[in-house]
């Protein structure tokens, strides 16, 4: 429990997604996980970024509008989507061969906890009390292991104010040492071999305030700045 907790106000979920969209480079292949990551797609229309849907599709377009829905064209969250020129379909097996094979430049994933070593815990909230070793793993472990760069998009703390950026994950991990960047409502943090480097803070916040809701000791970047959107 974070005893220093007080409610800090930062970016909305949409703006977390925008901050991540700005992080993505043109000419890259990107997979967006469930939750905040999905919102990134709202900010990249027209950009030269190819989205993969792990169900077996490249060049996934925006969510289908009413009247545009094709029941045979969904994303991994079972939402009707559209296809962009250059789209192609393939099997789920091929899709994960692609993911494990290192072809995904970036995976943007949600998380329950991220450790200072870049360990990611996201597939199973123990509070749900499933029997041991089961839960909705889905594609998260493959993406976490396979993507060249894993970016985590999440709220900085739980609704109760508990740390989500922790020294050691208490929740079952998705993969070890894979997260390279954490973008939250409060901060942008690089995961480096030396530790977590606080690179940007939400408007109006100090590094100290971000530290107060972050369990591991943050290294303050010498060029620390406000999140620019």
């Amino acid at each position: 429990m974070n005893e220093n907790h007080r409610q800090l106000h930062g970016l909305s979920r949409e703006l977390i997604a925008l901050r991540i969209a700005n992080e993505l480079e043109d000419g890259t292949y990107v997979n967006l996980g469930i939750g905040i990551p999905t919102l990134v797609s709202n900010w990249i229309e027209g950009r030269d970024i190819v989205l993969q849907a792990e169900i077996g599709m490249l060049n996934t377009g925006p969510l289908a509008a009413h009247g545009q829905v094709d029941q045979d064209l969904i994303n991994a969250s079972c939402q009707p989507v559209t296809e962009l020129p250059g789209a192609c379909y393939f099997s789920d097996c091929e899709s994960f061969a692609m993911i494990r094979g290192g072809y995904m430049d970036v995976a943007v994933l949600g998380a329950l906890q991220v450790s200072e070593k870049g360990d990611l815990a996201g597939w199973n909230n123990p509070e749900r009390g499933f029997p041991e070793r089961i839960g909705n793993i889905g594609g998260s472990m493959d993406l976490a292991v396979g993507a060249r760069r894993v970016i985590v998009a999440m709220e900085h703390t739980t609704r109760d104010g508990d740390f989500k950026i922790v020294k050691q994950c208490a929740y079952p991990v998705t993969a070890l040492g894979v997260v390279k960047l954490i973008v939250t409502d409060l901060a942008v943090i690089d995961v480096t071999p030396e530790g977590l480097v606080l690179r940007e803070v939400a408007p109006g916040l100090s590094a100290q305030e971000v530290q107060s809701v972050t369990e591991p000791k943050l290294i303050i970047s010498p060029v620390l700045k406000e999140i620019h959107l």
Binding site: C78, S91, D92, C93, D119, R133, I137, G139, M141, V145
Partner: protein, 233 residues
């Protein structure tokens, strides 16, 4: 060869108690719902069901659970995402009470195990799951300084798959993301039963656009396309 069966019920009639069945479909897309409904009518018990999900987007499998036909499930995303919705789901209750045994694999590992079975391989080394609960009971081994887990092939007795178009010799063409698990599951099943929306004569499919070669399919049955709005809410 003419692999067409006269009815959905005839196509599943011989499935015995204790059979293992791989079921294609990713949530709602490409799910062989008609075959699942026929299996519920047929009544085979002690089944092992191998499919992505045992509830969300796949409600027809729930009937098998409530009828007590399922002994074991092998999945990658078995439960509803919502804890509330999950708590009232027959499958989640059955797992929590121990009535149904559940094995869960990462999605890529899940379908790769079926592909290995189809391809006559005994197993493979994958980096997915290293350092997680997925390691449990598995060999971990290092190749070129990276750790991998040994995952073994799955060889189901039956596979239920779905396709947009099929011909009488079992060739199948899928449509968009309704392809998903269907090709590798079709290949993995010892007896594969394909439900197709449109049935054509041999030569009626583009031979360069066949996602499931007919050799993998033992039975073909024509079904009516259901129309629905995809959702797992």
């Amino acid at each position: 060869m003419d692999k067409v069966y006269p009815s959905i019920d005839a196509a599943v009639a011989d499935i015995p108690d204790g059979a293992s069945i791989a079921v294609g479909g990713f949530f709602t897309a490409g799910s062989p719902v008609h075959l699942l409904q026929a299996l519920a009518r047929q009544g085979a018990k002690n089944l092992t069901v191998i499919c992505q999900s045992m509830g969300p987007g796949n409600e027809d499998v729930t009937t098998l659970v409530t009828q007590g036909q399922v002994k074991k499930a092998v999945c990658n995303y078995p439960f509803y995402r919502s804890a509330t919705r999950g708590a009232s789901s027959p499958f989640e209750k059955a797992v929590r009470s121990g009535q149904v045994e559940l094995e869960v694999y990462p999605m890529g590992t899940f379908i790769e195990k079926l592909r290995a079975g189809a391809a006559g391989l005994a197993g493979f080394y994958t980096p997915t799951g290293v350092g997680t609960v997925v390691e449990h009971g598995k060999e971990k081994r290092s190749f070129n300084d990276r750790d991998y887990l040994l995952e073994l092939a799955i060889n189901p007795d039956y596979a239920f798959v779905y396709a947009w178009r099929g011909d009488r010799v079992g060739n199948l063409t899928c449509r968009k993301t309704a392809r998903n698990y269907n090709p590798e599951m079709a290949a993995a099943g010892t007896i594969t039963i394909a439900a197709v929306e449109e049935l054509v004569e041999p030569g009626g499919l583009d031979p360069d656009k066949i996602h499931v070669p007919g050799i993998y399919v033992q039975r073909v049955v024509k079904v009516e396309r259901r129309n629905y709005i995809p959702s797992i809410e």
